[in-house]
């Protein structure tokens, strides 16, 4: 059914009549009005010519590939920066913790009983352990080798299930480096799930030199 459009409505819709995106009802309405309105016919010709000329304007002849490679470099650098700041943050926490413990030990050495000093040494060992753990978790990356017969979609599904993103690979032995988002526990869970998955031949932390 044709919707009756007045002159203003028709004039307003002409650009989208020209690009063919009006609904059927609007299209028919514009067509009906234009048939009987000379100013709209002229305006329509102007719009059609404008579209033609805009589409003819040359596209800047630049190749996408070098730009894409630059973007990949940028993504890699961003990742390294993120890992760097995460390590720096862990290192800062470690240093801070060590200073706190050192202060406690100092207070203890100024006259508090010797058992407090022993407690201070235990605390020191704890803080060192936490620091080491922080550095390990800061990577959030795993090395994964999938079973040979897996399709790309299946691989992506497995990685997606553990909230991971491929950051490199596969290398010559089919190893992918995968970044797991979130927290250290999430990395642990991902590792456990991947190791239990029969479609995964190998899964280990990226910093370990135990990849195939």
């Amino acid at each position: 059914m044709t919707k009756l459009l007045n002159h203003e409505e028709t004039f307003e819709l002409l650009p989208w009549f020209v690009n063919g995106t009006l609904s059927d009802t609007e299209h028919a309405g514009v067509e009906h009005h234009v048939r009987n309105c000379l100013p709209c016919r002229i305006a329509l010709l102007e719009q059609a010519q404008l579209e033609k000329l805009l589409k003819q304007q040359p596209i800047v002849p630049l190749s996408a590939e070098p730009a894409f490679d630059r973007l990949l470099d940028e993504i890699g650098a961003e990742r390294r920066r993120a890992l760097g700041s995460s390590r720096a943050s862990s290192a800062f926490s470690g240093v801070f913790a060590r200073h706190a413990v050192t202060a406690a030990v100092l207070v203890a050495s100024l006259g508090v009983a010797s058992w407090l000093a022993t407690l201070g040494r235990d605390a020191l060992r704890d803080s060192e352990f936490v620091t080491l753990t922080g550095q390990t978790a800061a990577d959030f990356e795993l090395d994964i080798v999938f079973a040979d017969e897996l399709s790309a979609a299946e691989r992506n599904a497995i990685i997606g299930d553990v909230d991971g993103v491929i950051t490199a690979g596969p290398n010559d032995v089919g190893r992918y480096r995968v970044r797991i988002g979130g927290n250290p526990q999430q990395v642990e869970d991902a590792l456990e799930r991947l190791r239990a998955d029969r479609r995964v031949r190998f899964a280990g932390r990226a910093f370990e030199e135990n990849a195939p």
């Binding site: 299209h27 010519q49 000329l53 304007q57 800047v60 630049l62 894409f68 993504i75 990685i159 991971g164």
Partner: protein
């Protein structure tokens, strides 16, 4: 009877969007091959669109990578409320406006540009215009438009978007899109009769 000059088919649109959606899903899983494919597909349309807004090729190139970085990082979060192309162009529009804000040098150059040639072209309506002249005239006419109007004109004629889709891309009501187009046409009216004469 006026023929419909151009019709976008729903079928092509849907299958094209399905391809984009599939690529986006793979990108969400960290598939760089899929990312490359989508990047190459959108590189030139994005470059042109951002260039139209910023007027600087260098910042347009930077803008394309900014946009595609967002696609890489947030592809997984895409909820399918619009076509993938509409989503990507929406990101591009916001990035381009920011880039333009941060660098007004082009705009200052344009303002300082000698407009004598433009006037010359306008002053000879009866003469036959070569295609190159028309392109030049249109280019300069487009540059006189405020950036938001320019974006609507470009999205309508070059990219073939409906007014509803343009509203989604530039994040404004549909009536605002129509109003921007109306004002853009009014601003361009000095050159539009010349364009129509060529075709009559």
């Amino acid at each position: 009877m006026v023929d419909r000059p151009h019709t976008r088919t729903k079928q092509n649109e849907t299958s094209d969007d399905a391809v984009d959606l599939a690529l986006l899903e793979r990108i969400g899983g960290g598939d760089r091959g899929a990312f490359r494919e989508l990047y190459v597909k959108y590189y030139h349309p994005l470059l042109r669109f951002i260039y139209r807004i910023t007027g600087q090729l260098e910042s347009a190139q930077e803008g394309v990578n900014d946009v595609m970085l967002v696609v890489w990082q947030n592809g997984k979060a895409f909820q399918g409320r619009s076509r993938v192309a509409t989503w990507i162009l929406g990101i591009a529009y916001r990035k381009a406006l920011k880039l333009r804000q941060s660098s007004r040098r082009w705009w200052e150059r344009f303002k300082a540009e000698d407009v004598g040639n433009y006037d010359e072209l306008l002053a000879a309506p009866g003469e036959h215009r070569e295609a190159g002249d028309l392109q030049d005239l249109l280019e300069k006419g487009m540059r006189t438009l405020p950036v938001k109007q320019r974006a609507v004109v470009e999205l309508t004629y070059f990219y073939g978007y409906s007014y509803e889709e343009i509203a989604a891309i530039v994040d404004c009501p549909v009536n605002t899109v129509k109003t921007r187009m109306f004002h853009a046409r009014a601003r361009l009216k000095d050159i539009l009769p010349a364009l129509a004469k060529d075709d009559m």
